[in-house]
Symmetry: C2
């Protein structure tokens, strides 16, 4: 397609999505669930075809020299296919947020006022190579009554189109418009630029991927964006910490998984307990193969480790590397988090009541934890049932984004002929 025909093609997707979203906003939960369950079965039944289409992507990826990590993310194994089907069934089992009415109250004028939860409309999702996002994102958008336009990584196009076909079968079986879920069927990057400026058709853009993608979207989009920028997460071990808990939490926060946004990247330790906690932790980290980098004080306790620089304090390693800084106490810890953190997820370990309250109140991050691993900052762990991502924004939704984050609330007013006096 040339640029002009891509413009027309995207315009067409937008118009169809807008029309479909109007229908979806008031559709029964039963029909949405039927679509999800049918799509889950289709994914399982057509696993062989999904693998074939995925192999086309993998072969082409190898030809284009994609590295092993990217190829791994691109691959649809049998287990991942089963996982997608299971994910759709989990979303079907969640309560439908649409139409929920809350806060109905009578006002002095006699009118009754409340709020009704409604879909956002059309959601554009831009993501990178993992094709399972196609099923995850589409299912959450559908359940929350939204239409979606999906733009996956160009290297995953065959996989994504095959998955979209399974979703289409679900929509068809449920009598819903097929255009509720549309995958952009071109590798041309101008399609992304067009998507980001179709504000007459698209209500919100959700980018999922690396910092480069997010920054491009922030720069080009004329549509509001729900985004996850990065996670420089901290654990602060207070001077009143239970040392056993501190060791377990700091170890788990770093080593439970390395490549995730809610892994700890910097450990802050109160001066007075550093001597007892750091040697124990250093041993555990050494066994796990975690490289430590410390401030000067830290290196007087752990002599063998590299010096940490300012760059370390700002780094999201996503790797078995940890920066460690010894601080005077809670105030310096909060100040460090404020200066170097990313407002994502930060935890304190303390047995002190007032300090736990202070940390909860003063740390301005999407998740703030007391005596728990940063790895809990997750939609499933928070009981959202599923998540489309974690928002590091402040507006609209902060932290893990589930079905509720894909909806809005309108005011409803019930009267009996009431007029303003």
């Amino acid at each position: 397609m040339n640029t002009q025909s891509i413009e027309q093609y995207m315009d067409q997707l937008g118009r169809l999505a807008r029309a479909a979203s109007r229908q979806a906003a008031t559709v029964d939960s039963g029909a949405k669930n039927k679509a999800l369950l049918t799509a889950a079965t289709a994914i399982e039944d057509q696993a062989a075809r999904l693998v074939i289409e995925n192999n086309r992507d993998l072969e082409s990826g190898r030809e284009h020299g994609l590295d092993a990590a990217l190829l791994d993310r691109l691959e649809l194994t049998v287990a991942r296919i089963a996982g997608m089907a299971e994910g759709l069934r989990q979303v079907a089992a969640l309560a439908d947020p649409v139409g929920e009415i809350t806060d109905m109250r009578y006002m002095p004028s006699g009118i009754q006022v409340g709020r009704m939860r409604v879909p956002l409309g059309v959601i554009g999702i831009i993501y990178e190579s993992r094709p399972n996002v196609t099923a995850d994102a589409a299912s959450l958008c559908l359940k929350s009554g939204n239409a979606c336009i999906l733009r996956g990584g160009s290297e995953a196009l065959h996989s994504n189109l095959a998955l979209a076909d399974c979703l289409r079968q679900g929509l068809e079986a449920a009598g819903l418009p097929e255009t509720l879920v549309q995958v952009i069927n071109t590798r041309d990057r101008t399609a992304v630029g067009k998507l980001l400026t179709m504000d007459q058709y698209v209500d919100v853009i959700i980018p999922r991927g690396g910092k480069g993608l997010i920054e491009r979207v922030m720069k080009e989009s004329s549509i509001p964006v729900i985004k996850h920028l990065h996670g420089v997460c901290h654990v602060y071990i207070d001077d009143q910490a239970d040392i056993d808990k501190a060791v377990e939490i700091a170890y788990n926060s770093k080593t439970h998984r390395y490549g995730v946004c809610n892994a700890m990247e910097t450990l802050l330790v109160a001066d007075s307990v550093a001597g007892s906690v750091l040697p124990r932790l250093a041993q555990r980290y050494a066994d796990a193969g975690v490289e430590l980098r410390g401030c000067d004080k830290t290196r007087t306790i752990l002599a063998d480790i590299k010096a940490a620089t300012d760059e370390d304090w700002e780094s999201e390693y996503l790797a078995p590397i940890l920066a460690i800084r010894i601080v005077d106490g809670i105030d310096q810890a909060i100040q460090h988090i404020d200066q170097y953190g990313s407002q994502h997820t930060d935890a304190i370990v303390t047995e002190d009541y007032s300090k736990s309250r202070k940390f909860l109140r003063q740390v301005d991050s999407s998740s703030v934890l007391v005596n728990a691993s940063t790895r809990f900052s997750d939609g499933f762990e928070y009981g959202l049932g599923a998540e489309i991502g974690i928002s590091t924004d402040k507006l609209h939704v902060r932290g893990p984004v589930g079905l509720e984050g894909l909806t809005s609330q309108k005011y409803i007013v019930l009267g009996d002929g009431h007029i303003r006096q």
Copy 2:
């Protein structure tokens, strides 16, 4: 100031606002209320000075040929000054939303998860000539724990600076940073452009003014915007309407005040009741001096009125003019609202249960009313205590925006040494 020094000046305001916002986020309600009450007294005590400063603006406005309507909006009368002081006291009396914890629940893992309401941070407010917005906006930002940077109309600069000084006296008395409320002290328009792109310091922009201002802000801002675009509000009189209620609601929605965003601009009437309801309404509107413009069918009943064009269906008159269209029934009414409306405020008049439910569910507007005047779509009428505006956006906040709309929620997690398995 030249462009470079304006850049530096704005940068300075931004840095100070960001620092102040950190302090404000965790300040006691008592201190915030003391600041508001002291500022209210200062406004009353210094009314004479406010009038003098306002006169400087009025004289300069007359010299520059401002029209009578603009001069009226610019004027600080004694009654308006008293109104501002009263407004500050009302905001002081509202419950503090900051720190409110909701939805605390234990999860299967044993952690306890909930949400804490937190300020947005720094709010930039851009408004036109009415100086009372300075006091209103600052008070709501302060109470919700936010710092604000205010940019009023350049013709109101002396008035705004004098008001800012009263607010400063309140902040000082309460021991709060004066930089919580800053009025941009230059008429240069490049300051606005700079404000709209200081995303490192400003978390949200709220423009208040005409469509031209809003569109400029939408185009230039790299910061999320909470905006009110326009209000093309409808009343639909259903074939099952109580005709007496219908007449009162349609009359009140149009004539209670003309220049407001929640005034009805188009009346939709079901064919089967048009003959009984329109002549009664036409008489009432004629007495009030409202000009009617109708569709062809309407003009077979009201022979004397002008024909309505497509432009009328899209018009926010803000004036004693009303467009009238006769529709087949509720479906065509909803379709008309969908096509021509502005998703602001729409009402149905009906005694039919199923149609009331259908209208509430299907009309995608920030306020949807049954058997009540569109004029109720207002923060005070909805019990918010005060409003900074009405949002026609879908993201973050929809409809009247009170203190809650100036806040966000972060997740908090309480554990006892919990780690992810």
